[in-house]
Amino acid sequence: MNEGWLALTQQALSLLFSLDPEVWSIISVSFSVSFAALMITLLPSMVLGFILAFSRFRGRWLVTNLIQTLQSIPTVVIGLLVYLLLTRMGPLGDLKWLFTQKGMILGQMMICAPVLIAMSQAAFTSVDRRAWETSRTLGAPWYSAIWAVCRELKVPLLLAIIAAFSRILTEVGCSMMVGGNIAGVTRNIPTAIALETSKGDFAQAIALGLVLLVLALVLNFALGTLRGKAEPRSH
């Protein structure tokens, strides 16, 4: 290696702090796509998780297990599925979404939905059902009763959201296949790291890796603080 680690890291930091437009465009694509996917999926997934936790219907066990399984499907398989849906010959070919941000969002929605549903279901299952029943008998409408339960479950639900977000923010398989890594349009942090490494240019890859690392640290600290606050207080 004629480029030392230190020199590379220095280049990486200067890319970040000199507000290199290319690097920041990649970061903003990553965040806007993943954030959109999360926001669209969030409410329906939580409602589904709630229904699975609180209602008893035939086939509930099957649905629960199916979603548990979907959580661990490799992202490249989801990528393949979305690719086949969106390709010119595919059933949704007319949308012309392949190699666009919309296509990426669709793929990421499919990746984060099972995580959100399964984790929120686990959270809702853990809560005392009486909170729900009490507010219902007091005449609260169903949505404010759900809100009451959600407030109770702030920490586990936030955990679910953060887990889902970090999964889609860091996945490379689906973004590469469906987005196509187009500069300035669908090139996000993970696909850019893959490309720069294949070109043998490590400075930008390290800069982007650092962004993900810092984000992971921030999220973990935030969670730690949340958990600390949620510890049962002694009366």
């Binding site: 004629n2 196509g180 090139r187 490309l195 294949s198 070109k199």
Partner: protein, 270 residues
């Protein structure tokens, strides 16, 4: 509790069996481009060389940019690429030596079958590029620093076009993936003929422009400066280079066909 001694003994024996290393100086590490690997040419040539010489060639197939970088860093023994300007720099800066042109193929400008930018009537490759830039059709660029990507950027330069126009789409992928994307988006792209022939069954693109010196694509094999990296397998690298310019290999290159088409033309001349 497992008997630790026995486990270690077993592990060592297993390691010896698995890791029976080939004599280090029998392995030649060759960094080359994806086009020579994807087209199947190397799989066709190398077994004969290995049988005759007793060397074992390990191929690292990547873009031209990275292949030259690996050679600069002394991570490989020998390098075969197709970007004359970058290769000249590699030799003049004292990293490479004994560059030999062994073969060439050509680049083609692919596009939708109905040729929306009407480039078939162009008199030169750069004129075709200028037309594409003016039309509303997308142009899909490899954007991965490969030999093909370097050639494409040279053509934009010749056409006096900044590759920043509306339809310009830089995808940072290998040749095959780029062809599939160009097919999906029904845009133009620059490809080596070999990969296009290999993919022609999968895509609905046509050669809208080819021919001319501007689209020639020569391949060179280069040895690595022994003063900089004395511990590489220079003997093996030289043997491979010598074999590739010999009559037998040159004949094999000319006779190599995919789907009935000759992909490479042997070009070595003293």
């Amino acid at each position: 509790m497992l008997n630790l001694k026995r486990v270690i003994g077993l592990a060592v024996t297993a390691a010896l069996f698995i890791g029976m290393p080939v004599q280090a100086n029998e392995v030649i590490k060759l960094a080359t481009t994806t086009s020579t690997e994807n087209s199947g040419l190397l799989k066709n040539l190398l077994p004969t060389f290995e049988a005759q010489s007793g060397y074992k060639v390990q191929v690292i197939a990547t873009g031209t940019g990275k292949a030259l970088k690996l050679a600069r860093q002394g991570d490989v023994d020998v390098v075969m690429t197709h970007a004359p300007a970058a290769e000249a720099k590699f030799v003049s800066e004292g990293y490479g030596r004994l560059p030999r042109g062994i073969m060439e193929n050509d680049f083609v400008i692919l596009g939708p079958k109905n040729d929306p930018a009407n480039i078939r009537s162009s008199e030169s490759a750069e004129a075709a590029f200028a037309k594409i830039a003016k039309s509303a059709t997308p142009f899909i660029s490899r954007g991965d620093n490969s030999g093909t990507n370097m050639k494409e950027l040279i053509l934009w330069g010749k056409a006096n076009v900044k590759p920043e126009f509306d339809g310009y789409t830089s995808v940072g992928q290998g040749m095959g993936k780029t062809l599939l994307m160009a097919n999906e988006l029904q845009g133009y792209t620059l490809s080596d003929r070999g990969t296009f022939v290999a993919y022609s069954g999968k895509i609905g693109l046509a050669v809208d422009f080819d021919g001319g010196q501007a689209l020639a694509n020569p391949y060179q094999i280069m040895l690595i400066n022994a003063d900089k990296y004395p511990d590489l397998n220079h003997k093996g690298a030289k043997a491979l280079s010598d074999w590739l310019i010999g009559a037998q290999a040159q004949g094999m290159i000319n006779n190599y066909k995919v789907q009935g088409e000759q992909l490479f033309k042997a070009t070595y001349s003293e």
